[in-house]
Symmetry: C2
Subunit: 291 residues, 2 copies
């Protein structure tokens, strides 16, 4: 058993890991202004018994949906609700298990439907382009820390691992943020421009990604016993839990170096570094600053 924890076994590892959204890993060289502290008004903290998930919202991409989510969170809508779905290699979804029934929880002063914000005009966005051949878009890059895909005129958030969206029914405006999902598998990019993405998990995604897969249709849980309760959801300004969380600026030189490193893999483990990169294999690094 001792061998597991000595260097001999680590040689049997699988090479350099992809960057993950956890604090402290895979940090490229930094400069003083390469890291930003997210606006507390854009941070949502979801507390389960097993840990805290921190989400950064993207109001520049989905202002109306983000505003409605802020209202729901501030009024305590999510407190006591549950994770209702875990679909392997796809999404984890949460909200009101009683939605649609007489037991449905009131959404308070939040809107019951919100306009679809599947994409926006590209003009006016500060975008760091990534040189990549993308299966689903003509150009890709990052804006303010979020992966975006583009055509000539429009930009939209891309369904990469860890991205958070607004569940909806058949009508484009039938979502209101009272049920949200996070991508926990290979990027389902066919959902791009078909549903509103609103943010990205900065930390704690493993709290969600390890949940037992639902055995019902589309990975929904089939009984109350299978649900994971949500203890509390707060905005960053109303909690200390996000203190010190910083995200690498995607318009910084260190981020370009990070992209370059992911593309060219200088680590000698690589026999044939590809020189290529796909959008969803890039994850703007997150760290916890020393306070």
């Amino acid at each position: 058993m001792a061998g597991l924890f000595n260097s001999a076994l680590l040689v049997l590892m699988l090479g350099t890991a992809v960057a993950c959204a956890d604090a402290g890993s895979d940090e490229p060289a930094t400069s003083l202004d390469a890291w930003r502290t997210p606006d507390a008004d854009n941070l949502v903290l979801m507390q389960l018994d097993s840990g805290i998930v921190v989400i950064e919202l993207a109001p520049q991409m989905a202002p109306q949906n983000v505003a409605n989510i802020r209202t729901l969170v501030k009024e305590g809508y999510f407190d006591g609700l549950a994770i209702i779905r875990s679909h392997d290699n796809y999404v984890v979804q949460w909200g009101d298990p009683g939605a649609g029934s007489k037991d449905a929880k009131s959404t308070g002063s939040a809107a019951t439907t919100v306009a679809a914000e599947f994409y926006r005009e590209r003009e006016g966005l500060d975008i760091t382009l990534v040189d990549s051949t993308d299966a689903y878009a003509i150009e890709v890059g990052f804006t303010a820390g979020f992966p975006v895909a583009m055509d000539e005129d429009r930009a939209w958030l891309a369904h990469c691992y860890g991205m958070v969206g607004v569940s909806r029914g058949m009508a484009p405006d039938s979502g209101n943020g009272s049920s949200l999902y996070v991508v926990t598998g290979h990027a389902p990019r066919h959902l791009d421009k078909n549903i509103t993405l609103v943010g990205r998990v900065l930390s704690g995604i493993e709290v969600l990604s390890v949940l037992p897969r639902g055995t019902g249709t589309l990975g929904f849980y089939e009984s109350e016993q299978q649900l994971t309760p949500i203890r509390r959801v707060q905005m960053g300004g109303d909690s200390d839990a996000a203190t010190g969380l910083q995200v690498m600026r995607t318009d910084s030189q260190p981020f370009l170096e990070y992209v370059n490193d992911r593309r060219h893999r200088k680590n000698e483990w690589f026999i044939d570094p590809t020189g290529k990169i796909e959008l969803c294999n890039l994850h703007p690094p997150v760290r916890t600053a020393d306070l």
Copy 2:
């Protein structure tokens, strides 16, 4: 609570799911010869307390590594070993926790190193091409049920979700199949042509993908208590557990229809079906035949 299980809530779902490798889902129209029963000599069944994982090996792509894995399995090498790593959005890895120490388990008559089989010549493979713009290769498709990427002369298995590979150290031939990994996150395609892939999980991947993430370097577990024991690993011919498992032939008309369906998404939930598809968003359907 009742609402979770009625149709009202299902309208709040996230549209049509991607096809998954579980039996019985997302089956396109079939013809009599569209389904094949995998060769029992190519099936590996790994039994954990929480369920059974079934892997189909790809001897046409990695004959020497597959042969060595068969030897290891038949001699009971994996019985009593463990899952040693779970790295979020990347891989789950298993093998001997004592590897590299004096407690290391003997690999019996299996070879201790096996030649790298990162790719092979393209000629001689029956490949169903998929029309896709790929970030990492000039062409992509499927051969005998496995995702492949190609350049002019070579073909290699692609690191899509559920693909299984041979862990290695710094030397290209330092792996021998005694430690294996499966992709459990967004396809780490930068590993293509850098490590030998040997197969694909046909069923039971959720047994592995939900395992707690390791807190050590690269997602390795840090203590014996965190390990998940492997009860038994058998070849398909030596077990009844894989009875009835069938895979859609990737050289069949129904598979082309499946790809077309994934590309064009006729389901009316989709406002803007993309018309595009990426290799790793395709998963050759698996079912359990009525016996």
